[in-house]
């Protein structure tokens, strides 16, 4: 059955370019892709902006002809490296989507053990298993854009795709979550006795966790010019243990290059 093409949308009278987009997942929970279909109220609008040609979790059809590739997950095995390189070759714009793709996410927590054989043995016993150290997407191929967060915020993805379609520049916040949290008039988590990385973590989530009285775990990585050393000092003064601070900084892998 031939379906009618949707009418071209216009912006200021100029027809909009409807980019072909593809979604791919590597080692991950696939939650970021799920977030994309999780915003039921704006889903149809979003779909009218782009042409989805690859989305294995939702569709059987597939194609290698796409402009933007959204890549979720971290890279842990040789076959993933090959698959990612092919995607990089096909795509004009490669977007690392979510903490696993940007930093390795919670998956990189296994890298902290010096003896990787011990890690394998913990889970699989003597059974041989093919797996290597966890890498972020940018450690394997060049990345053009990053969408931070565990999970990603759907509004941010929609904005980025809209800006690509309109040819507008894309600005990722440089300031910390703490500023969003203050603007939201939340009680400071430190005053509630909760550890929080809001002062050093990149904004853009609208202080999602602190709004719910949960301290920030730094899933979006460091804000620009984040002073991690001073943050550690403040948290110690507030009575948090070294372990608590390090567990938060380590959790999603975003701070490993600055801490």
């Amino acid at each position: 059955m031939k379906t009618k093409e949707p009418e071209a949308k216009t912006y200021l009278g100029v027809p909009l370019y409807r980019p072909k987009v593809a979604f791919f997942e590597f080692s991950s929970c696939e939650g970021c892709q799920l977030q994309l279909v999780n915003n039921e109220s704006t889903l149809l609008d979003f779909l009218s902006l782009v042409e989805v040609v690859n989305f294995r979790e939702a569709m059987t059809e597939k194609s290698d002809d796409y402009t933007i590739a959204f890549v979720e997950g971290s890279i842990t095995r040789g076959d993933e490296v090959e698959r990612l390189k092919k995607i990089r070759k096909n795509a004009k714009i490669l977007v690392a989507m979510g903490s696993c793709a940007c930093f390795g996410g919670v998956n990189q927590l296994k890298n902290r053990f010096k003896n990787f054989d011990w890690v394998k043995k913990q889970v699989y016993g003597k059974h041989p298993i093919d797996s290597g150290l966890v890498r972020a997407v940018e450690d394997v191929v060049p990345v053009d854009l990053r969408i931070y967060g565990c999970p990603i915020k759907k509004e941010e993805v929609e904005k980025i795709v809209l800006h690509v379609a309109l040819g507008k520049s894309i600005d990722i916040p440089k300031h910390p979550v703490c500023m969003e949290c203050k603007a939201n008039e939340n009680i400071c988590l430190f005053d509630l006795g909760e550890p929080c990385l809001g002062p050093i973590t990149r904004a853009g989530c609208d202080s999602w966790c602190p709004n719910n009285r949960a301290g920030c775990w730094g899933c979006r990585g460091p804000a620009e010019d984040a002073n991690v050393e001073y943050m550690k000092k403040i948290m110690k003064e507030k009575g948090f243990s070294e372990q608590t601070i390090m567990e938060r900084l380590d959790c999603f892998g975003g701070f490993k290059k600055v801490k």
Binding site: W118, N212, A214
Partner: protein, 424 residues
């Protein structure tokens, strides 16, 4: 008819995670039918070792994007059982409401967006936006409401923020809950219309006798904690989960397989329905009867219908829960947590079946050992044996390659597998 064919589906679509189907038939005889799981392992059990107890729900929730609420609740239950914390009634009700809405969200996603396209000859939900607009909008309304309630109660629709050991960091406003109660009542009709749609679809006629494992309700349909039963007569406590799952490795899968009384067993909506039919809400029971459902039902494709029945049940039960929550003043949302050494197990019925988390702590509350047994992991062996039976049966009937490929794909999809979760 002497038939020779090969079916090779690489990275089966419309399921969570990566799995392959390989079927080889020579001269009408089944040579090979294999369900292969190639997902990369992430080693969650190792990740947790040495970390403080409060990391467990936060990190293990990330095992799965679709059932992150279930993982978080199983993890919290395991920690609470280890620390001898008993959640109060308010927390228990709010957790169940949250759990119900994850079930509704996940089941409606699977039924309408992942499974339905096969029944109407489409490759995805996208063409359905045009051909079945009312169905897609109805499904989006149901799923949207479930997600909105998860936001309200759990703080976030996936990877929840408010759910912690000891209770909740923050409570929903009562005004919000009463609005949600009205919205829940208003989607009952959407669900009934969905049931009507599905009753007009033809489920493949296929059955293979197997064992069904689930929690057992005492006086209600079970979701969080309690005893575990099987349709073969096994009855154990949740802390005996190792004896219930008996994990082992096979070459064709990076996820572990499980067995109990026979070579495989099944968990999920169909298992829950088979083992707990008497506890369903009357409206949900009526829907089940409309599909001639009689426990114990051995058609794996009926898992789709069991999910539909559960959607109705959780909506009706959520209205009751909200009524009860609104009828008394809210208390403090969070109990104090005092870590102690010991082992705790938490069993929770997540959309795809029974999930176990187990942790061992030292006296400071540091994690010494952890173990998670995932529903799809428990189903893999059953999927394999179903696939063999299905391919053999339909090969003899001389079905075409494409037809067998579709039926095999539909069979795996009927289990609504969460493959990356099963490998974790």
């Amino acid at each position: 008819m002497k038939k020779t064919l090969n079916v090779n589906v690489k990275h089966l679509s419309r399921v969570e995670g990566h799995g392959n189907i390989n079927i080889k038939i020579r001269n009408g005889k089944l040579m090979e039918a294999q369900w292969e799981v190639i997902e990369t392992p992430r080693f969650f059990e190792a990740m947790l070792v040495g970390k403080n107890w409060d990391n467990a729900p936060w990190i293990t929730g990330r095992i799965c994007g679709i059932c992150s609420i279930g993982h978080t609740l199983a993890s919290i239950r395991a920690v609470e059982n280890a620390f001898k914390i008993v959640p109060d009634e308010q927390t228990t009700k709010l957790r169940l409401l949250l759990k119900h809405m994850e079930t509704l969200q996940s089941h409606s996603l699977h039924l309408c967006f992942l499974a339905l396209p096969d029944f109407v000859n489409a490759g995805s939900v996208f063409p359905l936006i045009k051909s079945h607009e009312d169905v897609v909008l109805r499904a989006a309304r149901i799923k949207g409401l479930a997600n909105d309630i998860c936001d309200c109660v759990g703080g976030r629709r996936l990877h929840p923020t408010r759910t912690v050991v000891g209770g909740f960091t923050k409570l929903p406003a009562k005004e919000e809950l009463s609005v949600f109660s009205e919205r829940l009542k208003s989607i009952v009709n959407d669900l009934l219309l969905l049931a009507e749609l599905f009753s007009g679809l033809k489920l493949p006629a296929f059955a293979r006798e197997t064992e069904f494992v689930s929690l057992k309700g005492k006086d209600s349909y079970p979701f969080i904690g309690g005893d575990v039963v099987s349709s073969d007569g096994v009855h154990m406590r949740e802390q005996d989960y190792k004896k219930l799952t008996n994990e082992y490795m096979v070459p064709q899968s990076t996820a572990k397989w499980c067995r109990l009384s026979r070579k495989s067993f099944a968990v999920g909506a169909l298992a829950r329905l088979n083992n707990n039919f008497e506890f369903l809400h009357p409206v949900a029971k009526d829907i089940a009867r409309r599909f001639d459902f009689v426990p114990v039902n051995h058609n794996p494709f009926m898992n789709n219908i069991a999910q539909l029945v559960e959607c109705v049940h959780v909506v009706m039960d959520s209205v009751r829960l909200i009524d009860e929550l609104l009828s008394s003043p809210f208390k403090e949302p969070r109990q104090e947590v005092k870590p102690r050494s010991g082992v705790g197990v938490g069993a929770v019925e997540v959309p795809r079946g029974i999930l176990y988390h187990c942790y061992e702590f030292d006296d400071k509350g540091k994690i010494v050992r952890s173990d998670c047994v995932i529903p799809t992991g428990q189903n893999h062996a059953n999927i394999q044996h179903d696939l063999e039976a299905l391919a053999g049966e339909f090969a003899v009937k001389g079905k075409a390659d494409k037809e067998i490929e579709l039926l095999a794909s539909m069979l795996v999809r009927a289990y609504d597998p969460c493959i990356s979760c099963s490998v974790h």
